[in-house]
């Protein structure tokens, strides 16, 4: 019979960039952690993305603050983890493929001072000077210096290995089947191999967080938002920036879904919805990886836990990419796949304690998880060790949905 003192202080559910970052930051703060991953570490969205961190994607001030905070942490990670996570500040180029898209860039540019981030409009020639692979038909581009790339596999594995060196343990292929809730307090989880007890359980299960939390009797609106990706063979040319096309939504409505039909927005009180397609360029990225291969993406659809790419999704991605980088045409597509972003109705992550003492969430990062992983780890470590976070708890808390819910219910009654 295991004694209480041999329980891990913390159980982390989910082994993606978020879960491994949480495990590492806790271990670095002296908190013993055990991580359970249902499949493979870095196996889901963390291993399926375009590896680009783009603060300009954040319309919400808080997401932006968090991403910028992560940016401070990234350069220090290589030393802290003893692993080169491939972090590079490349900047982004939002490229118009025709004259018709120029107004979009101009409008977005005029909004930039409000957002507080540097941006520069370039004419086609200047854009091509800085990024020779851009096609001759590109009339204008918006250069956004803040933005970087990373190797998400090395990031997650780096966190995992460093956490292990500090005494944490990780078990893959161990799904959580239920929660131990005794006297109203979460005390552990149920797995196929038996009960695992812990002082605190932190759910970092990405797109599966809604399902996992439901096992504890809680309704948290985190649902999968599918994104498809394509990768090419190593390219003989270099891409200096992350290059972003602007979506032609009117042609391809199916692949730019902003709202899931099945999410009851009234119920979760989320009046304003974060549109995953705004600002322009969001959700589409062309990025060169360390091996020289070019990653192309992405799409947006709500199709449950389906991780299969579709033929038209592949066309959608390639079509957009080739309009601004026609040289891609001579490269071969080597693989296509789809990942599941953890979507929330208001576009903010869900970080904080739930109404069940001992059960904490750190999830809902939608398409920004890779960039937000370091700061999320830090925030959760703060919460567990001091009870407080250095960023607005009330905006990130899972409880915000319950509050909005009852407010909405009240409005209906009146």
């Amino acid at each position: 019979m295991a004694e209480a003192s041999s329980y891990p202080d913390v159980l982390v559910v989910g082994g993606g960039v978020i879960g491994t970052s949480v495990l590492y930051h806790l271990a670095a703060a002296g908190v013993r952690g055990r991580l359970l991953e249902r499949d493979s570490v870095c196996g889901a969205a963390s291993g399926a993305n375009a590896a680009f961190i783009w603060p300009q994607a954040m319309k919400r001030k808080l997401s932006l603050e968090m991403t910028l905070a992560s940016f401070e942490i990234f350069p220090t990670l290589a030393e802290a983890l003893g692993e080169d996570v491939g972090y590079q500040r490349t900047g982004g180029l939002l490229a118009a493929d025709s004259e018709a898209q120029i107004p979009i860039l101009q409008e977005y540019m005029s909004a930039q001072p409000g957002v507080g981030l540097p941006a520069e409009l370039l004419d086609g020639d200047e854009a091509r000077r800085r990024e020779p692979a851009l096609g001759p038909g590109v009339p204008m581009a918006l250069y956004m210096p803040l933005g970087g790339k990373i190797d998400p596999f090395r990031l997650a594995i780096g966190f995992a290995q460093a956490a292990r060196r500090l005494g944490a343990t990780i078990e893959a292929f161990t799904p959580v089947r239920g929660f131990v809730v005794e006297g109203g307090r979460a005390g552990g989880v149920l797995t196929d191999r038996g009960t695992i007890r812990a002082g605190t359980v932190i759910v970092c299960a990405g797109a599966w967080s809604g399902e996992v939390t439901r096992l504890a009797g809680l309704e948290v609106p985190v649902i999968p938002r599918q994104g498809q990706m394509v990768v090419t063979e190593p390219a003989p040319f270099k891409l200096h920036h992350c290059v972003k096309p602007i979506k032609h939504d009117q042609d391809w409505e199916l692949y730019s879904q902003a709202r899931p039909r099945e999410l009851d927005y009234a119920r979760f009180g989320a009046g304003q919805t974060e549109d995953p397609n705004l600002p322009p360029g969001k959700g589409m990225a062309i990025q060169q990886s360390g091996s020289g291969a070019v990653l192309l993406g992405s799409t947006s659809r709500f199709v449950g836990f389906n991780q299969r790419p579709t033929e038209s999704g592949i066309h959608y991605i390639v079509d957009h990419a080739m309009r601004i980088l026609p040289g891609l045409g001579r490269l071969q597509m080597v693989r296509a796949w789809a990942g599941l972003r953890p979507f929330t109705p208001d576009g903010l992550p869900v970080i904080g304690p739930t109404s069940i003492p001992g059960l904490v969430l750190a999830t809902g990062h939608d398409g920004g998880g890779v960039g937000l992983a370091p700061v999320t780890g830090r925030l959760v470590a703060e919460l567990v060790t001091t009870g407080r976070m250095s960023m607005p708890l009330e905006k990130l808390t899972p409880e915000r949905f319950a509050t909005a819910q009852s407010a909405a219910a009240e409005r209906r009654v009146r």
């Binding site: 493979s40 594995i157 063979e233 033929e311 066309h315 390639v318 080739m322 071969q332 597509m333």
Partner: protein, 467 residues
């Protein structure tokens, strides 16, 4: 989008008979093959522009193959050659790549007969130019009349390399040695007795044996290659004796000069397409490892998708042809082209021939069974993933550090992320995982299959936008 009642993917023995059977009952059939000629590997045809001037020079199966192909040409079957099925999407929608563009084809019923690929065996120097698989050597000699090398060592397990050796002799190469890994070579009394009754096969085997004996080719049992030597290309092969479990016996190495090393350690089903289509696999060590699960009517776990031939389990051309016919009959019934018990007599005869063919296939399988020690020939600096140049050492470190899975190794080393997407290295990595962790091969999951099944140019995708 184009539609076809019956789509057959693969123009080898299974695909040919499946297409012919379906067309004979009046179904609209489209047969697709990646190559520019039909016949697959077994009935390899010469390229356009070449002519066979002396009948019989190519061997018995060439004539059989030609006969089937002629029959096909005389039928209403539409053949799409030089066409790659790069993806299979929902509801049996195929994505094709041909003529520099992509197209869609909707199949009423789909028969997959993509065949097999050869088992890679790795050891130091196996990536030197001059080291090749038996099938590749055959393709060069038989269909393109190119001699792969002048001084050849063959190494493998089972009777097929006797044929390849005999083809080398016929083509004028000096065959320096044929090394058989097992202690019981094909021409041993024991195997000969088991082959008793399969007269055609026995005669064929004997022909190859006599040819190489007459040419003075040294044949060695219980020997394997342990190293391929050379600077920029193969110059010599080091072979060694092995015990009954194929473990190398120290002190038995000897070096043979050669410019070509031909490896024939058997086949595994080429399951990328059925896996892409969502068909369930099952592990059958005897049949080549992971094979496509199917019922007695060749139908897979996905309704309307059938498999025939090697992809359903390594069994040879005779098995493949009967399975092709059975798959077609099942498809015809599903389409209601024939009544539910239509072609019953035909089906019974097929099954009888299939049972007979499977008996001989079993003998060949036994002779080709690989011992795990064969995969201990890889040393730390042996390249395992040729596309990304990942060594066995990196793979072993990844297995030790992380999860003992193909995906776990992939994300840590990039092995399997290159052009072939694990087609070559996947089985080697599985073997390393098995050896290192004691996990049985049937418990080592394959990596998730994703389109395209082989690389295709992005320009083809932009050209053929079919929303």
């Amino acid at each position: 989008m184009r539609e076809a009642e019956v789509v057959v993917v693969g123009g080898g023995p299974a695909g040919l008979t499946a297409a012919l059977e379906a067309a004979a009952a009046g179904a609209q059939v489209v047969l697709i093959d990646e190559y520019l000629t039909l016949g697959g590997q077994y009935y390899k045809q010469v390229p356009a522009g070449f002519r066979i001037t002396s009948a019989g020079a190519e061997g018995a199966e060439y004539a059989e193959g030609t006969a089937l192909i002629e029959k096909l040409r005389a039928s209403k079957i539409e053949t799409l050659l030089g066409t790659l099925v790069w993806g299979i999407f929902d509801e049996r929608t195929l994505a094709l790549y041909r003529n520099d563009a992509t197209e869609r084809l909707q199949a009423g019923q789909l028969i997959l007969a993509p065949g097999a690929q050869e088992v890679p065996v790795a050891f130091p120097g196996w990536t030197l130019p001059g080291v090749m698989m038996g099938g590749a050597a055959q393709a060069l000699m038989v269909s393109q009349r190119i001699l792969p090398g002048e001084r050849v060592v063959l190494a493998g397990a089972g009777p097929l390399q006797l044929k390849v050796a005999s083809q080398f002799v016929e083509a004028g190469a000096a065959v320096a040695a044929v090394c058989e890994a097992s202690s019981k070579p094909p021409m041993s009394m024991e195997n000969a007795l088991r082959a008793f009754g399969h007269w055609g096969k026995m005669r064929e085997g004997l022909e190859y044996w006599l040819k190489i004996k007459k040419a003075g080719v040294p044949y060695h049992a219980h020997q394997v290659p342990v190293r391929a030597l050379g600077n920029e290309e193969l110059e010599a092969v080091v072979v060694a004796e092995v015990d009954a479990e194929w473990k190398v016996l120290p002190g038995t190495e000897r070096t043979i000069e050669a410019d070509t090393l031909c490896l024939s350690y058997g086949f595994v089903p080429a399951t990328q397409l059925p896996r892409l289509a969502g068909c369930r696999m099952q592990y059958e060590a005897e049949a080549g490892g992971w094979v496509t699960q199917h019922d007695a009517n060749q139908e897979t776990s996905v309704a309307g998708i059938y498999v025939a031939g090697e992809v359903a389990g390594i069994g040879g051309a005779d098995v493949a042809e009967e399975e092709g016919r059975l798959a077609a009959i099942a498809a015809l019934r599903a389409l209601k082209r024939i009544p539910a018990d239509g072609l019953r007599k035909q089906e019974e005869k097929c099954r009888a021939r299939l049972a007979e063919a499977r008996k001989f296939a079993q003998l060949t399988r036994d002779m080709m069974r690989l011992q795990p020690a064969l995969f201990d020939l890889m040393t730390d600096d042996t390249v395992i993933c040729r596309c990304e140049e990942v060594t066995a050492q990196s793979v072993r470190a990844a297995i030790a550090e992380g999860e003992p899975t193909l995906r776990g190794v992939k994300i840590r080393t990039r092995a399997g992320m290159g052009y072939c997407q694990g087609r070559m290295c996947g089985s080697l990595i599985s073997r390393l995982i098995a050896r290192q962790t004691g996990t049985p091969l049937d418990r080592i999951e394959l990596d998730t299959p994703r389109p395209p099944v082989k690389p295709i140019p992005l320009s083809a995708l932009a050209a053929g936008v079919d929303k």
